[in-house]
């Protein structure tokens, strides 16, 4: 009987030991972090997400996005996350303190999404500073097939890495947008094209909300909200090699009554997905929330505890950096 007691005690002790060591103690260390702010108490990061993004997290979980996409950027010594431009710095515990469901993910069948909401801003910066190779696809008489794939070329991290010589300085997205008919929101982009690029690494989030930004073919710019809707509706309309499932059940096909909905998916350059004349495809509330959630994925704000490669480079380094 004595031996038996020690078995029970051992079984309980082992569980308690691992529970304390793996959950309770770490929770004391990183379980009650506060947002970071500067000395004046402004520039607070992170901020709680909006209501739509909160519901979007549920949609993201419900449809299993987390089984193919991670939301964490590993440090420079852990893989090529930073080289792939999935973030400007590693992720830190503080980035997640307001997340309703933390979906760090365990698999990268698809790319990391930790900063996917920040990418439109990054691209504008990239386009302003050094026109990206994607612009090479912009000459107007492009065939339908190449036009279908062009956003991907612009989106691919590899493209952003290699600073290909610009064919013409005017191919940056913004002037083209301004020229294209119906680009209401083009105004917010114009400064990016003409003025020198903003030096701050954190881009204004207003750009992120720029739903209607278009390429010269009238297609949505990569990683804008409109692009996400089209991508979710049919990933193959953007990248024919993608093996991502289509989430068509998050969209409704309906007859255009009177005025076309401003939310309707932009299928420019993808005639196969285009609904018949008089019909349009609009996102459901869930789809809008999912995209709001995606657009809220942004860890670009500098954190004291996670040094940013981009910010650190120009600054006089405290210690020797490699």
């Amino acid at each position: 009987m004595k031996g038996l007691q020690s078995i029970f005690l051992g079984i309980f002790g082992i569980f308690g030991f691992s529970w304390l060591g793996m959950t309770v103690v770490p929770n004391l260390q990183i379980g009650s972090l506060n947002p970071q702010s500067d000395d004046e108490g402004t520039d607070i990061y992170p901020m709680p997400a909006s209501g739509m993004a909160l519901h979007g997290a549920r949609v993201y979980a419900a449809n299993g996005c987390l089984y193919c996409h991670t939301q964490q950027v590993r440090p420079e010594y852990g893989g090529s996350d930073l080289d792939r431009k999935w973030g400007e710095r590693r992720s830190a515990p503080r980035d997640y303190i307001f997340e309703p469901i933390v979906m760090l993910g365990n698999m990268r069948t698809g790319p990391d999404l930790a900063n996917v909401g920040h990418r439109p801003a990054l691209q504008e910066k990239g386009a302003a500073a050094a026109p990206s190779p994607a612009a090479g696809a912009s000459p107007a008489p492009a065939s339908g097939a190449t036009a279908g794939t062009s956003p991907v070329a612009g989106a691919s991290p590899a493209g952003a890495v290699s600073p290909a010589p610009a064919t013409s300085p005017a191919v940056a997205a913004s002037p083209a947008t301004a020229a294209s008919p119906g680009a209401v929101a083009g105004a917010s982009q114009a400064p990016a094209g003409n003025a020198p690029a903003p030096t701050a690494s954190a881009s204004p989030s207003t750009m992120v909300a720029n739903v209607n930004a278009l390429t010269s073919e009238g297609e949505p710019l990569p990683y804008t909200a409109a692009w996400h809707h089209r991508h979710l509706y049919n990933p193959r309309s953007i990248n024919e090699d993608s093996n991502m499932p289509a989430y068509r059940f998050l969209y409704q096909k309906r007859r255009i009554g009177g005025v076309a909905s401003p939310d309707a998916i932009n299928f420019a350059g993808a005639p196969n997905d285009q609904p018949a004349a008089g019909w349009e495809i609009v996102p459901s509330y869930d789809a809008k929330c999912l995209v709001a959630y995606l657009m809220s994925r942004d860890q670009s704000h500098p954190l004291k505890e996670a040094k940013s490669a981009v910010v650190a480079a120009p600054a006089p380094a405290k210690e020797g950096q490699k």
């Binding site: 691992s18 299993g64 991670t70 590693r90 515990p93 760090l104 990268r108 691919s156 990933p235 289509a246």
Partner: protein, 494 residues
């Protein structure tokens, strides 16, 4: 040295007629008392296995043919994948594990099963919980935490069901005969007590009083690895410790080694959870602790492996005849391989490459299927004839089942490990566009669908054979069904 191993098991056909041997009568009574509850658990488990197989097959196909069945929300890839994995974990794995544990516990406690109704109610509630959970995941109530996808209404049902079952197990243990506690009972007691604590702690820290930020991920993987090792691992190892000595008819090589193996297994494997979060946004010490625990878990693996090997020494030819031994030894050997692969992928230099690839999936299947499920198949081949009083009908079907499962899972694990490594190398080459990293794994994923064909066929064969046994179409014979005709007198039992 122990009360069970070494006892020659009488051929089942004799059981109803011989009354001279007190032990035989006792065993027959115990078996009869466990008959209904264990068969209920087994039948449910086999049902869930078929469901998990169907959904696993579909998940695998949709991975490389994404436009298949794409317009229905509940059939989207991101919903059938958790449905598949949770059916495998909670439907098949947990139910077959509990069925086997109940029978082993009754046998080893040498007491007839009390309160079978409690168990059957527990099984019914458990089935209900899994069903609600699967439906919940399919209609979009996935919680977003891996291995814990079942929504709250399912989780609470599972927990209540579990308490019923565990209460029973403890009652059984309380009324056991004779003081000696065999090593299998240690593992089973551990599993029965660890599961509710793990489950309750994870549910509380994720849903009732949610922890902040990344701690959710830490709790999540602490639970998932806990379930993999402390629940499935314990039941699997405990069963192997019973079946191997029993079938070959000699005691465990070293009881002392077995004890060391148990405690080191429990201590180290319960700390391995953070190996799933290597280089993630966590304090480095957490992850280092898990990597260290993973490496140290080589100690129990070596101990258990050595012990089984020494027990089997000289009896390996018996695997030619005994289905139980063949499945169990396959599982026990894979357990060693599973742990070694676990150590390799936990090393930081390796994790850098394979961490976010199919390798982690391959490793999970290695533990859940190649080790645990194979051991469970073995135990069913041993236990079911003793419950229904008939022998397995067709040796050919058992052979087909074995080879289908062995080749199927072997192929799948190999493809996922190799393919995942290739995928990881491409992911780590930033000059390669992302699309090409996914393309690098696609041929392997197509191959995996082939392995699912093998598994599907083998599971259907097994379910058919099991159905025959349930319906009383087994053979009435004095000898168990051997895989191959005996060439000479076999010294072992079944």
């Amino acid at each position: 040295m122990n009360p069970t191993a070494g006892t020659q098991e009488p051929p089942l056909g004799d059981m109803e007629v011989t009354t001279s041997d007190v032990d035989r009568v006792e065993r027959a009574l115990i078996d009869a008392s466990t008959r209904l509850p264990v068969l209920v658990f087994y039948a449910s488990a086999v049902g869930w296995l078929l469901f998990a197989t169907l959904f696993g097959f579909l998940t695998s196909i949709k991975m490389h043919s994404p436009d298949l069945l794409t317009n229905v929300d509940w059939l989207t890839w991101g919903r059938i994948r958790p449905a598949h994995l949770n059916a495998l974990i909670y439907g098949w794995g947990s139910m077959v594990g509990m069925g086997t544990s109940i029978w082993l516990m009754a046998r080893l406690c040498r007491t007839t099963l009390r309160h079978p109704l409690l168990l059957i109610t527990g099984a019914a509630f458990w089935n209900l919980g899994v069903l609600m959970g699967i439906i919940g995941v399919l209609i979009g109530d996935n919680t977003g935490y891996e291995w814990l996808e079942f929504p709250g209404y399912s989780a609470i049902t599972l927990f209540v069901a579990y308490l019923l079952i565990m209460t029973w197990a403890l009652i059984m243990f309380r009324y056991r005969r004779r003081g000696h506690v065999y090593i299998t009972q240690w593992y089973l007691l551990g599993a029965f007590l660890w599961f509710p604590w793990l489950y309750a702690a994870a549910q509380t820290m994720l849903f009732i009083v949610p922890v902040q930020g990344v701690m959710q991920a830490a709790v999540n993987w602490w639970f998932a690895n806990g379930l993999l090792f402390l629940w499935f691992g314990s039941i699997g190892l405990g069963t192997a410790y019973y079946m191997i000595p029993k079938v070959i008819g000699r005691p465990v090589h070293s009881y002392y080694l077995a004890t060391i193996g148990f405690w080191t297994f429990a201590i180290f494997s319960s700390w391995t959870g953070m190996m799933r979060l290597i280089d993630g946004p966590f304090p480095a010490w957490m992850i280092t602790a898990s990597i260290a625990a993973m490496i140290l878990s080589v100690i129990p693996v070596a101990t258990v492996g050595l012990n089984h090997h020494m027990t089997m020494q000289g009896h390996f030819p018996l695997m030619r005849y005994s289905p139980t031994l063949r499945f169990t030894v396959f599982g026990a050997i894979t357990y060693t391989a599973f742990s070694i692969v676990g150590v390799i992928i936990s090393l930081r230099s390796m994790a850098q490459i394979v961490h976010f690839t199919e390798v982690s999936m391959g490793w999970t299947y290695m533990g859940l299927y190649a080790f645990f499920t194979m051991v469970m198949f073995g135990s069913m081949y041993y236990i079911v004839p003793r419950l229904v009083g008939r022998e397995w009908r067709y040796a050919t079907l058992i052979k087909l089942h074995f080879w289908g499962s062995a080749y199927g899972i072997g192929l799948m694990v190999l493809l996922l490990l190799v393919g995942g490594f290739v995928q990881g190398l491409s992911l780590n080459d930033p000059t390669l566009p992302f699309d090409e990293t996914t393309e690098s794994i696609l041929p392997y994923l197509r191959g995996r669908s082939l392995s699912w064909i093998l598994l599907t066929v083998s599971h259907c064969i097994f379910a058919f054979h099991f159905g025959l046994m349930l319906l009383g179409f087994g053979r009435t014979a004095s000898l168990p069904t051997f895989l191959n005709p005996l060439e000479e007198k076999s010294e072992g039992g079944h």
